[in-house]
Chain length 280, copies 2
Amino acid sequence: MCQLLGMNCNTPTDIVFSFEGFRRRGGLTDHHADGFGIGFFEGRGVRLFHDDKPSADSPVADLVKAYQIKSENVVAHIRKATQGQTSLANTHPFMREMWGGYWLFAHNGHLKNFAPEQGGFYRAVGSTDSERAFCHILEQLRRRFCERPDEHALFDAVADLTAAIRTHGLFNFVMSDGEYLFAHASTLLHYIVRKAPFGEAHLIDDDVKVDFAAVTTPNDKVAVIATLPLTGNEIWQQLAVNELVMFRRGDIVRRRLPENPVYMPVEEGLAVARAAGVSV
Amino acid sequence: MCQLLGMNCNTPTDIVFSFEGFRRRGGLTDHHADGFGIGFFEGRGVRLFHDDKPSADSPVADLVKAYQIKSENVVAHIRKATQGQTSLANTHPFMREMWGGYWLFAHNGHLKNFAPEQGGFYRAVGSTDSERAFCHILEQLRRRFCERPDEHALFDAVADLTAAIRTHGLFNFVMSDGEYLFAHASTLLHYIVRKAPFGEAHLIDDDVKVDFAAVTTPNDKVAVIATLPLTGNEIWQQLAVNELVMFRRGDIVRRRLPENPVYMPVEEGLAVARAAGVSV
């Protein structure tokens, strides 16, 4: 299974600590060895790094670490190719412009028989189901709203589109426009909101810890979203199966939860992915 | 004046030699110290690096050098901010998707009173005249052609749009869709097509030389486009004022040249840029 990582904060925050644990799953502590990508919003701009080398030993990932980019919204992905040729054009996150702003999208899963009609505004460049799903979401939003709607109309529209797309298979995704970050789980997706009082955190995948109290202010609020928890000494929340949440400035501002939420055990989530032909 | 660099080849080629001379103009041998950007097509994908640090001492530029990315089409830009805040969103090259493929655009110059109506397909994210011009070109192409037209219709349409936009000021640009590379001069733009028999070249801005015979095959054809010649021992061709050329696989396949072409002396070109408020 590919892994997703997202961050949404109320102040520009360095993601290096989380990224270090995440990237080590790209070839060292896990088997996601087909490349990775990470996109950082900086103001209205996006800094995008893609690499088809495994993230654990990618010089691009080294740069991300060395550069200590601070961002309020980050979308990252480690890819184990399951569908579509491994190529730069198929590397997440994908980016498009809508309503005068950039949007980033990364997907973990597999959509069967998902062939929406060709978009008038957005078309896929590569050959993945993931990019098709992203372009379809944007196409439908753009057709419905000529200008960016308020956050409730936006959330409801994304929730409806997501509910339709996930009938085609596994659709874990993270998507951001630089202000909001959407996270949707078909199987496994976890999040944590760090805020004062900040403590120390220990990476699961690496012998690294950080004392967040030393690198934050009392007003900071930082949401981190990941396929599996990245730290071993903090409580991560799991998204229910088919739950969509929308973060803004480190808080969940909207969520759509099934009436009888089911939380998938990690082992089952990995098994489901395997059965769907998504590599784990 | 900002500097432009482009490459269009018939085989994936390492641009490091040209980029090394070019980047040294970003803060060492010249005064383009407000950031830089470079985009490489790799298959249908694009690898895009932006930095708001001067290119001469940018870690991103170091990565570009170390990585030795091979590409058939490259668009790069060193920026001296003259209009619009210096920010990532204003850093060239700009990228959009059209007809299912990515397009890159970098501009050197300044357009006065250029405020085209807001696009239905493409909108600027940042605040530069450059991104507005790029979005306007794509918007008009997309309105005229639902699908990608043949190369002659495409060239003619770009030439007409360019002729209209340049009435607003200085419009040196390089644009590529990964197959074609367009280059247009209002003032200064030079190119060279390297092919067999390959020789040795010496960078003007650095004590570096390369023997292309050792790193090429006899069938290679590599066009390099730059604001000013990058090497001192080769013959670079200058584009005439208001000339548009279109490269494919290292050859010029179409050009539109004024009836009485004028070739601007370098000193005059720099003076014109200065007078138009474009930093030199």
